[in-house]
Assembly symmetry: C2
Homo-oligomer: 117 residues x 2
DNA sequence: ATATAATATTGCAATATTACGATATTTATT
DNA sequence: AATAAATATCGTAATATTGCAATATTATAT
């Protein structure tokens, strides 16, 4: 059994709530256009695809692999061995967490039109 | 008139769509628990507050100022001079963009329960 | 067993991020 | 004009990120 310690660099994660840290990890993982593009691609093909992403994006294979790793670490995608290849797909749970968060924000700000600035 | 050139480091932004880049910028700005906490605080107080954030979070004033700048650059918050102080508030437009994106994803994945991994 | 295909890891250079002390700027008050 | 209060900027150390070539790993097929 091995423990993975998630750090955010110099970030003082211990001062924030679990939800705040979790949302930040998810957002950080999406904070790169290549990773958004990977998500978009996974949505488009509607079924698990792996090495096609390398053909789809203008990045070298090691770079794609790295981005996939980050998405997987953040729990945004899942990967499973499929014979020779690895099959990746979207993890709805993580995306639902994000959706709920922004939905909540939308609800809260619905009736207030920039009431201060 | 001044032009601001938004870069993402070594990131090859020119290969992605405008929406992908925009979402990545927004996500990146939210990719730190302090900035999620700032957003949460702005939602809670429901009205524009500024220096209170320094008292609310366990970070030094220059650090808060830096985080606010990043949120403002990403268009997630707005700031306006209010006498002595600067009043910050949430920019619903940017958050709605995020909400719409994750809503779209939820719709697309609604009926599919991890159908591959 | 070897070769091939798919993916991951390593190593590295260039750049970005985080955090904060020191200092500057801006506005209000006296 | 001088002071105080609020915020921003500068400079800097420690660390993380991005991208890729080279290489390693893993699994299938011959």
């Amino acid at each position: 059994m091995q423990y993975y310690i998630f750090t955010m660099g110099a970030t003082k994660t211990e001062h924030y709530t679990d939800l705040q840290n979790k949302l930040a990890v998810l957002a950080k993982a999406l904070g790169h256009p290549a990773r958004i593009a990977i998500l978009d691609y996974l949505l488009k093909v509607e079924t698990c695809i792996c090495g096609d992403i390398v053909n789809e994006l203008p990045l070298a294979q090691p770079t794609i692999s790295q981005h996939l790793k980050e998405l997987k670490n953040a729990n945004l995608i899942k990967g499973s061995v499929e014979g020779n290849a690895i099959c990746y797909c979207i993890n709805e749970d993580a995306l639902n967490l994000l959706q709920n968060y922004f939905m909540m924000i939308s609800e809260k700000t619905k009736n207030k039109k920039s009431n201060c600035c």
